[in-house]
């Protein structure tokens, strides 16, 4: 999630273009971030010290980590900790940006600091984003008290990342008392929990789901594409129901519905979650009855 959020920030600052960002994500699996990069991001090494060490090892056969220990910058334990970050998606993303010449070692932390400040993230929240702690990330973007709504959101985002786009990310959720929907699919859930789950977006934004959930593809959002989105919601609710059943909470699901004409809905408990996936934006709306 932080890759897209930080990437969007860099696009707004014109450090890279949208096309460049789309090319860089998702980050390749078989790739590791460098120790120097991680050490600078984690602020255990200054960019100057990192650059000096890099120049030094360039002339010999030493590894950066060993050189940093020998120079007294890192302990063995700290190096082990840093090595644990080499497969971290955010570290790899930043490594890609460095390797592509988008910015330098000196610029990483000022950019990150500004990104943190603009987003209003605490240090703990930035750490959660970097570690991709999805449960904590949900807390950042979905400030609701209900544990079950948080659990649902977690299931939704996990399923989106697994089946639709591994770089799915959120904007801050908000509440509303009424909403005009666009093209949508939805499903009613009843039982120990009673709510209606919608996914809605104007134009062809729901192709972000429809064209990735199955091997079928659509040129535009039509009723077949909306049926596809409805089936996706069905899967999410099913997984949510399974999780609830472990706590002896039972819910039943009605058949999904969909329409090209979004209704105007009005309820005291509307939770709106803006979501971005596959270059498109849509909303998940939870209409909670009880």
């Amino acid at each position: 999630m932080i890759n897209r959020l930080f990437g969007n920030y860099l696009v707004e600052k014109q450090i890279l273009s949208q096309d460049q960002l789309d090319d860089l994500l998702p980050v390749r699996k078989e790739f590791k971030a460098e120790v120097a990069t991680i050490a600078v991001i984690n602020k255990v090494l200054s960019p100057t010290a990192a650059r000096n060490l890099l120049e030094q090892i360039d002339q010999g056969n030493e590894r950066f980590g060993d050189a940093a220990i020998e120079a007294g910058y890192l302990s063995d334990e700290k190096l082990d900790e840093i090595l644990g970050y080499q497969t971290n998606n955010f570290m790899k993303f930043v490594q890609n940006l460095l390797d592509g010449g988008m910015f330098s070692l000196d610029q990483i932390n000022p950019f990150l600091d500004e990104f943190q400040q603009l987003g209003g993230y605490s240090d703990a929240q930035i750490s959660s984003l970097i570690h991709d702690d999805l449960g904590e990330c949900i807390n950042i973007f979905v400030p609701v008290r209900s544990e079950q709504l948080k659990e649902f959101t977690l299931t939704l985002v996990q399923t989106l990342r697994r089946l639709i786009d591994s770089d799915t990310y959120l904007d801050k959720a908000y509440t509303a008392r009424s909403l005009q929907l666009d093209k949508y699919a939805c499903q009613m859930v009843a039982g120990d929990m009673h709510m209606k789950v919608y996914i809605s977006a104007p134009d062809d934004n729901l192709l972000a789901i429809a064209n990735y959930f199955t091997e079928d593809t659509y040129d535009a959002v039509d009723e077949d594409a909306l049926d596809n989105v409805g089936e996706f919601i069905n899967c999410v609710n099913g997984l949510f129901a399974t999780n609830l059943s472990y706590d002896d909470i039972t819910i039943d699901m009605n058949s999904p519905e969909y329409s090209m004409d979004g209704p105007f809905i009005s309820n005291e408990n509307l939770y709106v979650l803006p979501i971005h996936a596959n270059g498109c934006s849509f909303r998940a709306i939870l209409e909670v009855y009880e």
Binding site: T214, E215, D227, E231, N234, G238, S245
Partner: protein
């Protein structure tokens, strides 16, 4: 080649399941959008297998299962559900379903269940 009837109100779900089955050597002889249509087609075609979505309009999967088993007690019915709720699955098994699969579909799960029932 074993024949299959797919019963699900979601066109997407029918498409996904048909794709998996055909890729793995099964013949999908018909599809139905609701339980009543599914029952009628089962009686007409008597396929080797039938997959039944639990939640459907007109007649749900459980009711359809009961009717199909009344028509043909040897019918091999595989329940399909988005929910892994054990109670519902156990109910279906007690009523005569051969097995169940959960959505989102996993090819290996579906094919291993059907292959084991041939």
């Amino acid at each position: 080649m074993s024949t299959v009837l797919i019963v699900d109100d979601s066109k997407t779900s029918r498409y996904m399941l048909r794709h998996i089955l055909v890729e793995n050597g099964y013949e999908v002889v018909a599809e139905a959008e609701n339980g009543q249509e599914g029952y009628d087609k089962y009686c007409e075609l008597e396929p080797d297998f039938v997959t039944l979505d639990i939640t459907m309009p007109v007649m749900d999967g459980i009711e359809t299962l009961v009717k199909i088993k009344e028509f043909d007690e040897e019918a091999k019915v595989i329940m399909v559900t988005a929910s892994g709720q054990k109670n519902k699955m156990l109910d279906a098994i007690k009523l005569g379903a051969a097995d169940f699969v959960t959505k989102p579909y996993e090819t290996n799960q579906i094919i291993s269940i059907m292959d084991s029932m041939k």
